[in-house]
Symmetry: C2
């Protein structure tokens, strides 16, 4: 059997090596239009700052090594310019020449291409880059000289933020421009607020709810919607990606959602001898059971392996994806799995939400830091729709646990049952993930009722009273504009101060004490709800609503 | 309702605080025989070295704080000396006086006590300690003077190893004596071998398969079975724990396995108004569905909360435990969840095993370190029985993911489907947990056959040939005594060198290349099996079988 694979990164290379292990006698050819195969695309931003010091570290495998170990015929600088499904051939351009190669099975792993918006002056600009490949990063590195002072990153998604961090660490003045009202739009607003705060703390200028509308002076000047002008020596466009589908389209293969290549559960396109994997294909979002485009390395690698299994005759199906992603932004980690509150609501799911703050490891052991976790779930069935986390350390672990819980169809009622590793350097007897389960159960079982941060203003306007149960000392570090104050430890003795005809919203710093206060008031027949996430979260997402006295 | 709780740590204190949140009007009394409640028992060893610097950090809550916040009546130095189930009273000794207190519901959370073996001279010895409470650690600290040079730790379980580390960091010469043939008997031998190597590297003397048979010179001299004499200025006895059951026994409550208190799924003892939680009770091992004693903080805390739910009338059941534990031993972390290979075989389960070595995060990103993972599973059904991990970093995360997978009844076929957080600082596109699933599937689907390290000697004696596919350069770092050498990259061209009538065992360094070699040979119709874990694992557990040239 002769198998041609188009695209030599992630999915393509996983397919090639797995196929060799399964089919020693197959002829396997990998055609890569770029100079390098099997490179660490997720590592590219870190080469800009020098955190990854050597360019060669980005190259995981060479064609020679792949030939020696796997007997795979890897051909860089071989761009496929046409596929002929009927004749089972591809047309390749290399060194300015065209050639034809036949195949029995063809695997498309073309990836996604950076989306390039239509902006006036874009084509005249000489300092605009995108980041997808090693040649891209080579160009960026060449574009950074001793004269380069100001960098502008357009688009505050994962790659945009990684580039902002690494350009800043490289010593540049960095401005991020994001069209959405928040950075990191795949996270919910209040969680992304922690990331925005960290960016500002590290000296990055963050402009949200703005687009670039014009480049002037060959790109040295960027004009925003509101007329603001930014100076830029180097501009990175990272406003999203789109499936690299032109070969598939021209070959007449079916495409779907936003141009993604359509495949069946065996990765077969509309032509049975052509398969496709990776960022270019439409997949099934497992939680909503709807179509989705997911541009992540982990699913691409899995799909590459699985398509090899399929071609080799093993029983393997694409089960879909839930989507798990993480980003380090200076000293903060942000991660998400499954649906956000926003996407869950868009999918018209019955959404409940809970936030908790815990420590990455036992608070009594040195070095413990805060983790804020958010759970998006169905309070009726307990189904977990998604989770997000923010913190300095240990966020990856908690989101991985929750991603595994979702895959295992565990519910909120199961989270307290998780027996996680506990010794003081690693965790707590009640891990933040356990706590998340307890908090969600308290809502599901009616022991607690909560409102979200975006509901507070309306609730207060409707006559409810905000009761802040923090200590006097804590108030000196910022307080709600409008709140009644009664420290938790004084609540029982002073409960008669409260007006039984009023409805209360309780808050403390992180939500632990306000829940205790809520239980005390509820059992005294006072109407009360808990401000989920409490002061710490509210302060982050609504800093303008906090007063310092 | 008046609830008395015996024991003010972990389960007891979780029960008390949850009960208050559910039942504002209940009278809640916590009776603790020691001076301190709610202390960080898992933190005690780290106070010995000073890593936890202040004694007060070990005290999570004081009686005053618990009174102020939870209106709980916490009474330290109140030892319950008798329970009268019929009259619903307990007899308390405090300040040399006896008093009686009535209850409606009684919760026993007495914990486990250090097992004290019968050793000649033990009672005459003046330098022997165990570690369970703050008074214990106070005594140890008082026992360490400028004259204290030699410490002996008897028992190399979790607490023994933590104490060995912290005594060593305190500057003492430390010797560990363990009756089993390995340290950390809850791990399998080859995984524990990594821990033993780390202990030796850090200057700890490790003596396995030996017991202390006699203390001489008021404990300054310890005589082992083989006649060896150890000098000790300070001896820690940590040879296991037993349920603290004397009150339960004297009250006529039913006990079971090794004296553990028997409770139903609502934590009720044989007397319906007496409940019990924590290390003292018999629980259900969820994987084997058999009775077990599990002395861990995490289940104890959960049980404490759940028994409060039960007493408050919520629908809550003890679902049992799988057992997850972790220990930091200097620069190495060792963790386990579920069954070990040994316990799974003792339970007569159809056990398959796979070891893999991966990196805690992307190998191309600075600071990546090795993780060795072991999976114990059923190759027929894919059921996961247990997992173990060793490494410098990220072991806690992988074992937590696998513990969650077990709770979610995910199989080996699901592990590759886990979508875990991946960015270069946190993981890899194929996480070691995914790799573990792939490797297990290769066995389950017959693509690979393996032997374990303890089978190699016999296989070679039976005429099989060990084929080492590492490079020439690697051999200089140690080699098998008896192996044919052919580097993987030369295998295809030199396959005719192999004798088709022989059966081969292939090995490389960590198992990745030997699996590729296995696939090449299998498809050339040569009989071959893979040495699971390969040279790296074998070298660790059978160092005497390695030659250095």
């Amino acid at each position: 059997m002769k198998v041609i694979i188009i695209g030599g990164v992630a999915g393509g290379m996983s397919a090639a090596t797995r196929l060799r292990r399964l089919m020693e006698k197959a002829e396997i050819i990998v055609l890569e239009k770029g100079p390098v195969v099997s490179f660490a695309n997720c590592g590219l931003p870190y080469y800009v700052s020098g955190e990854i010091a050597e360019r060669e570290q980005l190259v995981v495998q060479t064609p020679e090594a792949l030939k020696n170990r796997f007997n795979i015929d890897v051909r860089p600088f071989h761009e496929v310019i046409a596929i002929s499904p009927e004749s089972h051939t591809v047309t390749i351009r290399t060194n300015g020449q065209e050639q034809t190669e036949s195949y029995d099975k063809l695997i498309l792993s073309p990836g996604a291409k950076p989306f390039v918006p239509t902006i006036e002056g874009l084509h005249e600009a000489s300092n605009i880059y995108s980041l997808r490949s090693i040649p891209d990063v080579d160009q960026i590195m060449a574009g950074i000289t001793s004269q380069t002072k100001h960098a502008v990153v357009i688009g505050a998604g994962f790659i945009g933020l990684e580039m902002a961090e690494n350009l800043r660490k490289r010593g540049l003045e960095v401005t991020i421009v994001e069209k959405a009202p928040q950075v990191l739009p795949s996270l919910d607003e209040e969680m992304a607020a922690f990331v925005e705060a960290e960016l500002r703390k590290q000296g990055v200028t963050v402009i949200t709810a703005q687009s670039a509308v014009r480049f002037e002076e060959v790109g040295k000047k960027i004009i925003l919607e509101n007329g603001q002008e930014l100076i830029s020596d180097l501009t990175l466009l990272s406003v999203g990606v789109a499936p690299e589908n032109h070969l598939a389209l021209e070959a007449g293969l079916d495409t779907g959602l936003r141009g993604g290549i359509l495949v069946n559960e065996h990765y077969q396109t509309s032509h049975p001898d052509i398969y496709a994997v990776g960022d270019a294909i439409v997949v099934r979002q497992q939680i909503t059971d709807t179509e989705a485009l997911i541009s992540l390395a982990s699913p691409a690698n899995r799909q590459g392996r699985q398509v090899a299994d399929v071609i080799a005759g093993l029983d393997r199906k694409n089960q879909g994806s839930i989507g798990t992603a993480i980003v380090r932004v200076f000293d903060v980690t942000a991660a998400t799995t499954g649906l956000s509150e926003r996407t869950a609501k868009l999918a018209q799911l019955p959404v409940s939400v809970v936030h908790i703050t815990g420590k990455d490891h036992a608070g009594y052991f040195p070095g413990a830091t805060d983790i804020t976790l958010k759970l998006i779930f169905n309070a009726e069935t307990g189904e977990i729709y998604g989770a997000q986390g923010i913190g300095a350390k240990g966020v990856d672990k908690r989101i991985d646990i929750l991603a595994t819980a979702i895959k295992g169809k565990l519910t909120i009622f199961d989270l307290p049952e998780l027996e996680l590793t506990y010794a003081p350097p690693f965790g707590s007897a009640k891990d933040p993930v356990n706590m998340l389960g307890y908090a969600a159960m308290n809502l599901a079982e009616g022991l607690s009722e909560s409102i979200q941060w975006y509901e507070l203003e309306t609730e207060l306007a409707n006559g409810k009273v905000l009761l802040d149960v923090r200590t006097d000392e804590e108030l000196t570090r910022g307080k709600f504009k409008e709140a009644y104050h009664l420290p938790l430890n004084d609540l029982r003795q002073n409960i008669t101060q409260l007006d039984a005809d009023k409805e209360y919203i309780v808050s403390c710093h992180s939500g632990l004490r306000s829940y205790i206060a809520e239980r005390i008031l509820k059992q005294a027949n006072i109407q009360v709800k808990n401000l989920d996430g409490a002061f710490a979260l509210y302060q982050m997402v609504r800093p303008e609503a906090i007063v310092y006295v």
